[in-house]
């Protein structure tokens, strides 16, 4: 099959647009987080740069770019340079499989509003979210600092305690939609979003993705009160910025994923599909920020306890109940 040049141009435009929108959103999410956290604490937050402080992300970017790119003398040079990219790239790659709008038709060419409609989209997400933690672990190890190392180790230990429950909480979704493709999962929720059928799976998934994007109350790898800044203690300038923006890309991507899997993706009345998808995703982002303003950090062992002794058994039970229910429904 040979793709026409129009198809290639449309695809390139789509990828470029997704990149631009996600990176801009991530930068403005940092700003939104600072403002909302300030409101939670009865402050005003950054409002000096531009109208309402809206140019603050630009000022932050200039600051990060002009900072010294510091390399600790005992660090493993190549891994140290590589780690921020390893943390940020998988995060943005996950968005490739998320459908963010109804398929469009441009100049007679069908344009599905998803970068790559993989038939194993969900597995792709699980694989990439596991890879993303390598950036944390390697960044922590390569810095050759005790705080960084502890942060990296915590990142890994955290991964094995939430990843299992996250994967298991998605099994009922696959059972209901009968597909791993995120496009088909969205199609299966045309009438009723899966959150109605699977509230427990939704809660487990929500807790797990909070741990996945290393947000309070699960920000153990960073834990600024205990580990200075955790795995990115030794990073400065734009390398730190890459870790930082990767975290916010992660919030957007995982919020988009939760939207896709549980809230019916881009389906919604009245408003255009892309707007619905954006609104739902930003609602998740807001919830994460709200949660950061509300909850304290869990202790290391409490997270293990929650992941292994509470969430994983609950997710397993949820799978069994869903399977039983589906079997009954099919035999009736």
């Amino acid at each position: 099959m040979t793709a026409s040049s129009v198809d290639i141009a449309l695809f390139a435009a789509k990828v470029g647009l997704v990149f631009f929108v996600i990176l801009t959103l991530a930068a403005y999410l940092v700003f939104a987080e600072r403002r909302i956290l300030a409101w939670v604490q009865d402050r005003k937050g950054p409002n000096r740069v531009g109208p309402f402080g809206l140019l603050q992300p630009l000022a932050d970017l200039i600051k990060l770019l002009t900072k010294e790119d510091f390399l600790p003398s005992a660090a493993d040079k190549w891994l140290f340079y590589l780690a921020p990219a390893m943390a940020a790239i998988p995060a943005i790659m996950i968005f490739a499989v998320i459908p963010f709008g109804a398929p469009l038709t441009v100049a007679g060419h069908a344009v599905p509003l998803v970068v790559a409609d993989l038939n194993i989209g969900l597995l792709f997400f699980l694989a990439l979210s596991s890879i993303a933690v390598y950036g944390v672990a390697i960044g922590g190890w390569a810095s050759n600092s005790k705080y960084s190392l502890l942060g990296g180790i915590r990142g890994l230990a955290q991964l094995i305690s939430y990843e299992l429950s996250m994967g298991l909480s998605l099994v009922p979704i696959v059972m209901l939609a009968r597909s791993f493709s995120l496009t088909e999962i969205v199609d299966a929720q045309r009438t009723i979003p899966f959150i109605i059928y699977q509230p427990l799976a939704f809660i487990i998934f929500l807790i797990s993705i909070t741990a996945e994007c290393k947000r309070i109350p699960f920000d153990l790898p960073e834990a600024e009160g205990e580990l200075v800044a955790g795995f990115h203690t030794e990073y400065s300038g734009m390398r730190f910025g890459l870790f930082f923006v990767g975290e916010y890309i992660n919030i957007i991507v995982l919020g988009g994923l939760a939207t896709t899997l549980f809230l019916g993706g881009w389906h919604g009345p009245l408003l255009p599909p892309v707007i619905w998808f954006t609104l739902k995703t930003l609602a998740f982002a807001f919830f994460f920020i709200w949660m950061r303003g509300t909850l304290p950090r869990l202790r290391y062992d409490q997270l293990m306890h929650l992941g292994w002794k509470v969430l994983t058994p609950l997710a397993l039970m949820n799978i069994l109940v869903t399977a039983w229910w589906l079997m009954l429904k099919n035999h009736m």
Partner: protein, 178 residues
């Protein structure tokens, strides 16, 4: 066990409610250069040297403020006028050291040194924060506009003994020897 889970969820939701309420509340921030709060009259900021109701300097250079100052930011040189009235030849407060504790104003017996509510004294050059006597002295009484130390205490004696109107010269005790 079941009840504790319910209680935990209640506590979680309650916490989210508290933060949401605060999110909608008006921030307490005062945006300093644009908005300024009016300090109270007894606010302790820039220190001044006041004058008595007749317009003379109140300061008698007794060094009590300098001794009371916990950070030693006040220095002066005392001098005496012809009529025995003491004054400060020079008087210097280093505001880059001053902690605005107000102990100098408390120690002052003549109410010369006083705190004012003017808190905007920062400068680019730290040497500008060293205030000399002419910078400190104001044309006014400050807080107590009727107090005049010398109406209560009198000035030092300068004329030789026995030169006064109704005085006789002191007796030389050695001349009374048998």
């Amino acid at each position: 066990m079941c009840m504790s889970v319910v209680d935990d969820i209640k506590a979680l939701v309650g916490g989210f409610g508290v933060t949401l309420r605060h999110m909608l509340r008006k921030p307490v921030t005062i945006q300093y250069p644009e908005e300024k709060r009016t300090p109270y009259p007894r606010f302790r900021a820039r220190i001044v040297l006041t004058r008595d109701p007749e317009g003379g300097e109140r300061c008698v250079a007794c060094y009590l403020c300098s001794a009371a100052c916990p950070v030693d930011c006040i220095s002066m040189q005392s001098a005496e006028r012809e009529d025995g009235r003491r004054y400060a030849a020079w008087f210097r407060i280093n505001f880059s050291r001053c902690i605005f504790c107000g102990l100098c104003a408390e120690a002052c017996p003549t109410m010369a040194i006083q705190m004012t509510p003017d808190y905007e004294i920062c400068t680019r050059d730290i040497m500008d924060l060293v205030y000399e006597k002419e910078d400190l002295l104001i044309d006014g009484c400050g807080k107590d506009d009727s107090y005049n130390f010398y109406h209560h205490a009198g000035i030092g004696v300068t004329q030789p003994r026995g030169e006064g109107m109704e005085e006789s010269r002191p007796v030389d005790v050695r001349s009374l020897m048998p």
